[in-house]
């Protein structure tokens, strides 16, 4: 294995640039863009000034180090560009000091052109004269080169220079347009943003963003590759690898620096391999955080210390109360702390809740308070994310008594019981953040449910939600692999999910294969039944009703299947029998079986009655049909949808019996029920219209019946439905030779509707389409010119209704 690369945590400029290049993530485009702008500054009179803003540890130095490195590699730039990369730890309080630092930086990089000795005469002058002298020396020695000054911590430099120093610097740049600045800052200070400040609007500012989980995985993967650990790069793609990245993300708050520190842990399996190095790492990091906290003004420090001790995000009101401070004062300090990257806020209702942006910072305070060598809370949380619930328990069982690992594992389990599974919560939160609000609300519950069952399932579901079905299926393959140690029930759930994904992508055979795996595995009766029912549905979709019937029969014959699912299987098998040509008499047997079963939910019984009634109706057995529909209506708790269907079916039986009054009563009741649900509307009304149109009724009777129908729809404000049925009726007429050839009858039919509906605005459009459709049919159904009475959109509706080829 090659030596590990030295990745300096605090001074990336000391890391080999090639290594920094190898681990660059998220900022390739930004860096390329910066290079191009510096190149333009060097080779033209356009001078760009770039500023990268980001909190500590967000990779600013990494970025400028690479910028300087890459510029150095562009040989042809050497004739146009000189780079002065200022030491970030030095400070300047005057323009003179800054110019001197610039000059000295040039002596280091270009010793043949610049020498420290040449500064000697300057020291005999007073400050203003020295400043003038050095400006001239610098400008003269640059000759025709553009000077790129790389400044880190520009905010600190400006603070040192003060207003007059900044003004002098800006005047120097304006009067001598040979200089381009590339700077970094932790925050946008007033010296940069106030319109009265000298450098207002001067820089092209880019805010550096924290890494997302995905980018973090990329970073850790690159570090592993750099260190020759190819297996880690592969591991990161696994479900466990991704969970671990999430654990690290939780601790780091998206901070580059912390990722680099934490990347060493990614493949640690045993608790001992984690606890000891983690504690050591905490020990090493503590001075860093302590220094950061110490650097703050007293009130901000108090706020940070308070927040470090909190388990959950805290409101401003609560903080003000606990710290004996004014609400407004805490609020303004928090704004400042947020800008500095110390805290982050999330809205809840009208207030904002604040928490420490980098959870690792909490350790610092904890270490200080923790003099009794109690377990580190942070490490406990880390383990809660590192291991899933099952792993925590398994590892605890293997631990010897009184070991440190045992104490940590016990605490992790206890805290999970007390506060819920942190690992699952982070996973769900992570996906919700990636999905966006609308998508998140659609998937949230499902991912959460999977997270409780098995985390990998949640991962697969999350990837599917993100529309990355390939990744989702790859995770499922990992779960279901022969050598996978996952429990059969988890494998079975994974196959169920896979079948859904395949089904959505219309890969029916693959979906069937996944479901068949579940049936063979038979991990739980519940999964087996679900798989059989789903497989049957797919068989029906791909027109294999006999196979579907076999699957339904298997469910029906399972002795331990719940009655509800048996009933569902009966209903579905009956419907599959109906789909056979000719209709199998077994359908009536199946629907009757549902009606006769005990303990079946009411809605399934209703479906049984309704579906059986429809078969009787089809067989012209009107008495039995009416009995079944009336039985449906006797059930009080049944659904509006079933009621509606029963009423319309009764209307049809009444129509066949010639009882128009009952037809209208049933239609009115059916429409009323229809308004109570949002399911698709049954198309029984079209049958009634078809029968009315086809009967040789007198013009007067027909008009009266049309009026009755219009009134029934008017009472229920269902004109749009009537409009759809009228257009549907055109199709029935067009397909029926007897009706379509009866020109006079058709004219009377359409006039009847036109008269009955002339005052009804909502029906104007459907009637116009209806009229044109009838005219077209009367003309023999050939003359497409008739359709031109309608506009393009209306024509399309009619063409679709008649099944005509849509004219281009």
């Amino acid at each position: 294995m090659p030596d590990r690369a030295l990745l300096s945590v605090f001074t990336p400029s000391r890391t080999r640039p090639e290594d920094l290049e190898a681990i660059l993530v998220q900022r390739q485009d930004l860096l390329d863009d910066a290079i191009e702008r510096v190149r333009e500054s060097a080779t033209t009179d356009n001078k760009h000034h770039l500023l990268f803003v980001g909190a500590r540890g967000t990779g600013k130095t990494h970025l400028v180090t690479l910028l300087v490195h890459r510029l150095g590699l562009v040989k042809e730039l050497n004739k146009d560009l000189r780079i002065a990369w200022l030491n970030e730890d030095e400070t300047s309080t005057t323009l003179l000091e800054l110019l001197r630092r610039i000059y000295l930086a040039l002596t280091k990089r270009y010793p043949e052109e610049y020498s420290e000795e040449s500064l000697e005469p300057m020291f005999d002058l007073g400050q203003p004269e020295a400043e003038q002298w050095l400006s001239q020396l610098l400008l003269k020695s640059l000759q025709n080169h553009t000077l790129l000054v790389v400044v880190e911590n520009l905010d600190a430099l400006f603070q040192g220079l003060g207003k007059s120093g900044q003004q002098k610097l800006r005047a120097f740049i304006q009067e001598n347009p040979v200089l381009s600045l590339v700077a970094t800052a932790q925050r946008l200070v007033d010296d940069l943003t106030k319109r009265t400040s000298a450098f207002f609007g001067f820089f092209q500012t880019e805010q550096l963003k924290p890494l997302s989980v995905k980018q973090a995985a990329e970073l850790i993967g690159k570090i592993a590759t750099l260190n020759g650990q190819a297996e880690i790069a592969t591991f990161l793609h696994s479900a466990t690898g991704q969970s671990r990245v999430r654990a690290l993300h939780h601790l780091s708050g998206g901070n580059h620096r912390i990722y680099i520190v934490l990347s060493q842990f990614i493949t640690r399996e045993s608790i001992d391999d984690l606890v000891v190095p983690f504690t050591k790492m905490v020990d090493e990091m503590t001075p860093y955080y302590q220094e950061r906290i110490r650097w703050l003004p007293p009130q901000q420090r108090k706020i940070i210390e308070y927040l470090c001790a909190q388990e959950r995000p805290t409101s401003v009101k609560e903080m003000a109360r606990k710290l004996f401070a004014k609400h407004q004062s805490i609020s303004s300090q928090l704004m400042d702390l947020r800008e500095k990257g110390y805290v982050q806020s999330s809205p809840r209702g009208r207030e904002s809740l604040y928490e420490i942006a980098e959870p690792l910072m909490r350790i610092c305070i904890e270490i200080k308070e923790n003099q009794t060598r109690e377990p580190l809370r942070m490490l406990v949380d880390f383990l809660r994310v590192w291991y899933d619930g099952q792993e925590l328990s398994t590892r605890l069982k293997k631990c010897t008594t009184e070991s440190m690992a045992r104490i940590y594992l016990t605490m992790a389990i206890e805290r999970n019981i007390e506060q819920g599974n942190l690992r699952a919560r982070l996973l769900v939160d992570g996906y919700c953040a990636e999905l966006g609000q609308e998508q998140a609300s659609q998937w949230n519950l499902r991912i959460e449910a999977y997270a409780k069952e098995a985390e990998e399932l949640a991962l697969a579901c999350g990837e599917w939600a993100k529309e990355d079905s390939t990744q989702a299926l790859a995770i499922i393959d990992e779960i279901t692999a022969n050598n996978s140690s996952k429990l059969p029930v988890v494998k079975s759930a994974a196959w169920l999910l896979a079948s859904e994904i395949h089904h959505e992508e219309a890969h029916f055979e693959k979906s069937i294969t996944s479901l068949s795996e579940i049936i063979v595995l038979n991990a739980t009766p519940q999964h087996t039944i679900r798989a059989l029912l789903r497989r049957a549905i797919i068989y029906r979709e791909i027109d294999k009703p006999v196979r579907a019937i076999e699957d339904y029969s298997r469910v029906i014959n399972l002795t331990d299947a719940p009655v509800e699912q048996i009933a569902q299987a009966y209903i579905s098998r009956g419907t599959a029998y109906v789909g056979l040509n000719p209709i199998s008499p077994n359908a009536i047997y199946d629907y009757s079986a549902v009606i006769d079963l005990t303990g079946v939910p009411v809605d399934l019984i209703e479906q049984g009655y309704c579906l059986r009634g429809l078969i009787y109706l089809e067989q012209n057995d009107l008495d039995k049909a009416s009995n079944d529909f009336e039985d449906v209506l006797k059930v009080k708790e049944n659904s509006a949808f079933v009621h509606e269907m029963a009423y319309f079916a009764l209307a049809i039986t009444s129509d066949i019996n010639g009882d128009w009054e009952s037809v209208i009563n049933s239609v009115t009741c059916g429409l009323r029920e229809g308004r109570k649900h949002s399911n698709p509307r049954p198309d029984f009304l079209e049958s009634i219209l078809g029968s009315l149109c086809g009967n040789m009724l007198s013009a007067r009777v027909m008009k009266n019946r049309i009026k009755d129908l219009v009134q029934a729809h008017q009472e229920n404000e269902e004109f749009s439905r009537l409009g759809e049925s009228l257009i549907g009726n055109l199709s029935a007429i067009y397909r029926n030779d007897d009706m379509s050839s009866n020109s006079n009858g058709l004219e009377a039919w359409v006039i009847g509707w036109e008269e009955a509906c002339k005052e009804i605005d909502q029906l104007r459009l459907p009637l116009r389409i209806f009229r044109t459709g009838i005219d077209f049919i009367k003309s023999g159904g050939e003359d497409r010119g008739i359709l031109l009475d309608l506009n393009q959109e209306e024509r399309k509706v009619l063409e679709q209704a008649l099944g005509l080829e849509i004219a281009s």
Binding site: D29, L30, D33, E36, R37, E40, S41, T44, D45, N46, K47, H48, H49, P121, D124, L125, G126, P128, E129, Q132, W133, Q136, S164, Q167, K168, R170, A171, F172, I173, Q174, E175, P177, S180, L188, T193, K194, R195, T196, A198, F200, G201, F202, F203, Q204, T205, E206, Q207
Partner: protein
């Protein structure tokens, strides 16, 4: 050319400023000039172009004066430029050098080192003799000197802070005196700066300064680019950034429209478009602009239009100014004086017609508002109006 918001622009690439530059040279034939405009509209670019490409017979000297914090620094800075200029012509600032010698100054490594002054430094003498030397030497060469002074109000504010208002007043009066004395010899000044000179003079007037030190100069306002130039600039930048477009003309037109033809915003929009990785189209340009306007970090620094109100108009008038701007921003039509007065009266923010007229004059001078041909008030820049509405939740 790449988008370069805030940076220095190659003067050969400057677009759409030929006309104002011609106007400035024409005016300079007669008198000195003060350039007024909003910050970041491109004043410095214009005066640098004047310096780099002078009209025949002119000898420009460009200085960024924000570096000066005392009258002495100012005088020495002017002297140094004069001296450098004359030495290139193989002439010398003789009178000034004699003066330095007389007060005990010495030249070390080409730099004048003066003794430490116990009382007030003789800035006025140095300034007067340096200008005298310049005019005298130029007379013999028939080139006319023109000082291009940037950030003059910053310098005056610095001197106010360090040495008091009296010195600032003296500087303004001395400069006016120099223009009168040497105007006939061709001396001209172009004075400009980021903060309105009228605010500095108003501050001085509150200290009983009664003169009108710049009313001998002609105020020339730098406006945003005309539409054709704005489109040209946008197209140039889109090409320079290699942004893909289906129609360069359409994308450039959208950038020009949405930026109100401000070159600074044109640069910003194109840069943001580049970094977004999007192609250039009407939709993507609109998307980028809206993102910038809603960005809480205020990348275009528009919030200063809100923040400076108490500073510019005083705390007592802050609410009245906000009410005026809110009222106008939320309407699609311009508002008359009477409509504004009625609105302010109904909200109890202001009820004095004369005070409102004064206030509107100042708000207009500060580029918030303009007046149409009916004298009605509307936002000068639609972009600002759009931001104001978004930022103020109107």
């Amino acid at each position: 050319m790449k988008a370069n918001p805030g940076g220095q622009i190659d003067l050969k690439e400057v677009v759409g400023r030929d006309q104002i530059i011609e106007q400035i040279w024409d005016t300079l034939e007669q008198q000195s000039i003060r350039i007024v405009a909003e910050r970041r509209i491109g004043k410095t670019t214009i005066i640098k172009k004047l310096a780099a490409e002078p009209r025949d017979g002119w000898m420009p000297i460009f200085q960024d004066l924000e570096k000066c914090h005392t009258a002495f620094e100012f005088a020495m800075s002017v002297y140094r430029e004069v001296d450098e200029f004359l030495s290139i012509q193989q002439r010398s600032a003789r009178k000034t050098k004699d003066f330095f010698k007389a007060i005990g100054g010495a030249e070390i490594a080409g730099i004048i080192k003066l003794p430490i002054f116990t009382g007030e430094a003789p800035w006025k003498e140095i300034l007067l003799s340096a200008i005298h030397d310049l005019v005298h030497e130029c007379e013999t060469k028939s080139d006319r000197p023109v000082f291009l002074w940037d950030e003059v109000p910053f310098m005056l504010a610095n001197i106010n802070e360090r040495e008091g208002e009296t010195t600032s007043m003296e500087i303004l009066d001395t400069l006016r005196g120099l223009r009168q004395t040497y105007g006939g010899d061709g001396l001209r000044m172009v004075i400009t700066g980021s903060i309105g000179l009228h605010h500095v003079i108003s501050t001085l007037k509150r200290q009983n300064y009664a003169n009108s030190p710049v009313n001998d100069t002609l105020a020339i306002e730098v406006r945003p680019l005309d539409m054709a130039s704005a489109q040209e600039l946008a197209a140039k930048l889109i090409e320079g950034e290699n942004i893909q477009t289906e129609s360069l003309e359409e994308a450039a037109n959208e950038v020009a429209q949405l930026s109100d033809c401000f070159p600074y915003y044109i640069h910003h929009i194109v840069k943001a478009l580049k970094l977004s990785g999007l192609n250039g189209s009407r939709d993507t340009v609109e998307q980028v602009v809206l993102k910038q306007l809603l960005d809480s970090s205020d990348p275009w620094e528009l919030n200063h239009y809100r923040e400076r109100i108490p500073t510019y108009y005083g705390d007592s008038l802050e609410l009245a100014v906000l009410e005026i701007l809110d009222s106008i921003a939320s309407r699609s039509k311009a508002m008359s004086l009477d409509e504004l007065l009625a609105e302010l009266k109904s909200t109890g923010k202001l009820d004095d017609r004369e005070q409102l007229i004064d206030l509107l004059r100042l708000i207009t001078q500060d580029h918030y508002l303009s007046r149409n041909t009916n004298g009605h008030y509307h936002f000068q820049f639609p972009l600002l109006q759009r931001w104001w509405k978004l930022a103020r939740g109107l």
